[in-house]
Symmetry: C5
Subunit: 362 residues, 5 copies
């Protein structure tokens, strides 16, 4: 499993005035999806820049139906014209827009006069071995929610579905509940990732015990790095939710806060699991190092056994290979078989000695 | 000793509406055990779904005896019909029910309008070498306590016994005291586990000192992992109890809080012991690594001693095995015995030198 | 130095009602020592259970001299009858008595209506190499102090002496001051232990530098484990004293609190020293591992030097030991001495090369 | 990449009275650059000491235009006369001046009666492989900002540019906004450094996996040291900004604080990245050590394979090189080829055995 | 550089009444130096015990000049008579005197009715390679400052000088400012120590990279231990100063607190540097261990190369040293030179193989 490398952060030119946007010009196309719903109707369509203008008018009509909620989903952050238009319609602060566009930002929550901004990182398994990583910015006010994503494709389909089929209370509750539902989807998608990492951990564990090799080291290393990444992504979410639970964000109703408490608990659980995995992975490293040392020990034992048996024997053979004229043993009839017997005994003695030392578990 | 692997967490489909239940369909049977008692009577029976309905009526009768307390113990979480019925009778929030059913959850405490929910993890030694791990959710209101367990079989028999025989103040005190008695049973069951881990630690310690081998490494590793698991289970309990001691949960009487303080102290003690064990286990790893290195040293010393003694001797034998025609030593009468003597002296000299270097402690 | 192993914690049967006493039946004898004093008189005697009853009456006489203070010292916790009697006389809560009897408990402080309970751990050097470890529970009210010890023999003799000889203000001050004097004695007894560990550290340090061996490893390990134990004992004391300094325990007079501040400072100092020792001991482990590696290096250098010198030489000797008929060198008159010279030069060359590489520091 | 070594801190003579200046006499030249602007005019010039006097008068004229803001940029801290003049004009406390001159100081913020002092550390990439490190002290009051730098050359050109071209709101806002813009420039310059360290990390990672050698160790070490330095520089900035967000510094308007929040977020992000890099670098060290051990294993395997194959073979050859008169094998016609075959089989057997043991992955 | 070993703490007999003094009887001589000054006069002399009595009278004269300040500097703590006299004159609490006399104590600050006590540890470089360590207790009241030192000789000469020459505001400010000036001197003296440790670090770093040996290990170890000591000394100072900045010590004027803030900043800086040094030293240990492993690798490579080249060659020579009667190669004319050529080729082949494996960087 590997994390799809995202484009590294594009920084504004150093010293540029605050709020400068750094657009990724390769990604000009910006899809706009508008969902409008109230307890009794639901409408979903893709809109153009021109229709955005119309939306503007409608939003500021005095007789606007207060219980209708707009969800504008912006996919792709490359089109400045669209972004500026949205900024204008919803009166978005220049720093807020910069936080949305200049990805990746650290997850955070900020309340402005007319809206609350939640920046989150969406991690999900695109296919079983690739983790996709994308910033999602959720901005919501009295009767609208705007979500900004880096690329098309997201984890919000179940929410769209619930809106359409009016499951649960989602259509009757306000914009803050919708924002909750979206962030809940994002956090829920961490669990399948944890599950697949859990499987990797188990694979690694049995590999460690059966036959650790260099590849195992690389896999442990990759795992640790991945855990580091996920941890860095999930931790700030905790601060976001605990801020909601602690502070009185005016735009978040008390009834919604009960649900936020639930997401908070999930976040804590994810952090818990991650920290647990990290400790396990750190333990893997220790076990790996010990195994390598043990293997070295085994190798050295083989070498030592071989050397200890054959060096003395070779020496004896060498002695009787000397060319002294006067070596009486050489002339005896049974000298040779006697010596062979002695050598065999020496060899066997060595082997028994090693057996006693416990070196023959190999 | 090993922890019985529990089924891994079953996640709700990602993006499902909050409160979605994930039922383990293999476990449909849900046992319902009802105990009702007041200071002067006690009744215990297994009830059916139909009887649950009757209970409903009785609970909401205006003339209901206020000092009678119900304890409903639900074993098995696989029957949605039963769960929904209970939810309805006791007005349980959808998120609360999800926390109860979608096991395992992190231990926590939550107060709702009509009840307090305590989620706990029950760890106990089923037999001397197996730790059983199960979520117990305790939900109690003014005059009822409901406990939800994953499987039949629990650690509550002593409490049932005390209720029956009216030991102590348990029958005179309210539902919060019963909840305390139950959670106290759960926490108390951690101690025998600590004890058995303590014995494993001592075994390991003497194995480390006498003869560490690869199996020792595996056992240290298993121990560390087990400690990690228990620690992860017990820590959140601490937060639960300290929240009770700190906050004013309306449903927990001040007289009960004195007892909660006692459970809190036990929890702190368990955490203390666990952290202590973890440090000891970490020390084991260091000692193990050092021992492996020491062993390698010993192996290498044997090899070096053998090589250093026999290599020069073999060389000398090799010299006199050369076939030069003009080697005057070969022709002398005493050349051979003199050379043998010299070789013996060289060998002894080497041995003495190693003795002086302290390599012969082996 | 080793810590005398205490009996491991005896747990109440799991699920037993709170306050169940777990008595060590091997230790039934419970000594009762009563000291009563006021500013102008002092009386010390051992009393029986019957006399305890008389004490009861006396305590509740209306005309009881308010400025007389009782100190009841209970040695041995095996006699339930005595304990229950004391509980009755001094109106001790069932949980308090359980904390006193079911040793060892984590040090803590608790205020009840009529008394304050301080649980402490008494560590002292029984002889230069044995640390004795015992729980002391100090319970004091308006005009009485009760101390409970596991075994006869304690560190309170200097306090008894000061009471008798009326040194300092101890006889004029209240029961809280006496409690302070007792706990002060306990904490002061940690210092000689620190001192003797300091000496062990210095011994180990010089052993590490001069000649580390397997025994050194074992001693480092033992030291670390001992420090872990002492640390675990002293840390909770800190919380006890800081709670006194912070909270307003009604039974502790402000004038006494100045002295508690002093004990608190001592505790901090002990913790400081322990943490320092722990870091030093951790450093020992690193140095030990490095030394083992260095030693291995030295062993291997010897082996390599020997092999590198004699392998080529043996090869050359082997070449001239071959039986080819046509080997002209063998027939020359000076072939043999010339070859010996060449061999010597090769050997010396190797030695010089190793010298240059710095391998001959050995 | 390396950090340009700065002159180590020059300490005032120990015990000197507080506020003693320690001037770097090698750097006497002090450039004074004055920028004055209001919403409708902009003026930039280098001024002399004499002109500084004139500025003094002007500043204290009663009819001074309140909405004109002065920015005095002092480059070089070697000229005491100039520094004292500035101290006098702007009523700078002696300790403040000492903090400005006796570089380097830890970043901090301090409010005095007439001004706020922010001490910051400017880190920027002078060229791709050199990090320049310089203290910048920003002192601002009602209508003035003074910046003190150690050397000419800074990261403020974009700010000068924005002032000149009146981009953004910078000319309409007060002195506190200008101070923000300057500190924002400093913090923004940490990002390119992080980027270049990120590249070094990736280089190192692939070097670690492909072919770690001693140079890799040195590079890891250098990297860790560099991260340590940057971390030590950036952490106190966090405290500075969080103090602004938390406290009510009178001189910083609420509208400016929104922007400070932005710089604060950047600082947190930098710290996050640094801590992440530090963990990765620590992981590198583990992997490196494992790799070295693995390499040793490989070397030893080669040695063991060679020894195990040739030692027995050499021994056999040695046996038949013995000079016993009665060795019947020597006289058989096929003794030699048979023995050669046996030797080959032994050799092949050994190789197969090693293959089975998995030692031939090399 | 080494720290002069101080006498280890002399403990009061265990259980002695609080405030018991433990006098170092080897050091009976106690020097008394009295400086008295006001804004317009200055007087400095050594006084005797008798003159101390006179001072007593003078202090309590009703018409005492309020703006005159006494600084009594006590060097040596061995003379109980003098100490008791001072205790009496300045009404020093028994515990305060014990803290002053029973050195070393942890740095702390305490306010009593009539005075403030600051306990500090004075570390200074007596000569370039010896750090002297001494407890200095500063006790100051409305118009007096008393300093207690263990030995004659201190770091206060610059303060005496400033008093004499009336530099700065020192003579016009109160006793709290003088106390500040003294503690400032003590803290300032940590910087030269840091500097010299910085140099040691740099020496060690280059030693590590060029040629690490056993001495390097010892030096790293010593360095770590020294840093541990300094850290343990400086940390509590931080608490002292932050207590002054936080609390309202009545005896410390607000104008003085600005200066304390400066000392506080210095203390933070010292701690920062120490922690940085500790991390660097920890990194040294890693690098050292890696270097030792690398060296082992190098040694083993030499051994393996030699063995791999000469073992097969020796085997071949052994084969042709066998005495079979029927070995046709032996009888050929060119058998010998052909074999020599084959051997050379084998040897060269081995060398090339090792070159390819990269083992010849040695």
């Amino acid at each position: 499993m590997h994390v799809k490398k995202r484009n590294t952060r594009k920084y504004a030119p150093v010293g540029a005035r605050p709020g400068t946007l750094v657009l990724d010009t390769n990604k000009e196309i910006t899809d706009l999806e508008l969902i409008r719903f109230s307890s009794d109707h639901f409408e979903q369509k893709n809109i153009s820049l021109a229709e955005l203008d119309k939306l503007n008018e409608e939003l500021h009509l005095p007789q606007k139906k207060v219980n209708e909620i707009f969800w504008l989903n912006v996919s792709g952050l490359g089109n400045e014209q669209v972004l500026r238009k949205i900024q204008e319609i919803f009166r978005i602060h220049e720093l807020t827009l910069a936080d949305i566009v200049n990805v990746p930002q650290r997850p955070k929550i900020e309340e402005q006069e007319d809206y609350v901004l939640i920046i989150s990182q969406m991690l999900w398994l695109k296919d079983p071995s690739t983790i996709s990583n994308e910033q999602v910015s959720i901005l919501f006010g009295k009767n609208f929610v705007i979500t900004f994503q880096e690329d098309p494709g997201d984890v919000f389909d179940p929410v769209r579905d619930r809106l359409k089929k009016s499951k649960g209370t989602i259509r009757k509750s306000g914009s803050d509940y919708l924002a909750y539902a979206l962030i809940d989807s994002i956090i829920d998608n961490y669990f399948p990732i944890l599950e697949s990492i859990g499987e990797i951990l188990e694979d690694l564990e049995s590999a460690l015990i059966s036959n650790p090799d260099k590849d195992t080291l690389k896999r442990i290393y990759n795992l640790k790095r991945q855990l580091l990444n996920i941890r860095r992504t999930i931790w700030p979410h905790r601060e976001v939710f605990s801020a909601i639970l602690r502070d009185e964000f005016q735009s978040i109703k008390k009834s919604t806060r009960v649900y936020i408490r639930d997401v908070y608990d999930h976040t804590i659980e994810i952090i818990d699991v991650i920290e647990n995995y990290r400790e396990i992975a750190a333990g893997f490293m220790d076990v790996y190092l010990s195994s390598v040392s043990n293997k070295l020990n085994d190798v050295m034992k083989v070498l030592t056994i071989i050397s200890t048996i054959f060096m003395p024997l070779s020496f004896i053979a060498g002695v009787y290979g000397m060319n002294f004229e006067n070596m009486p043993e050489l002339k005896t009839t049974y000298g040779y078989p006697v010596l062979l017997t002695i050598m065999t005994l020496i060899g066997l003695g060595m082997i028994l000695w090693f057996k006693k030392k416990g070196w023959f578990k190999i």
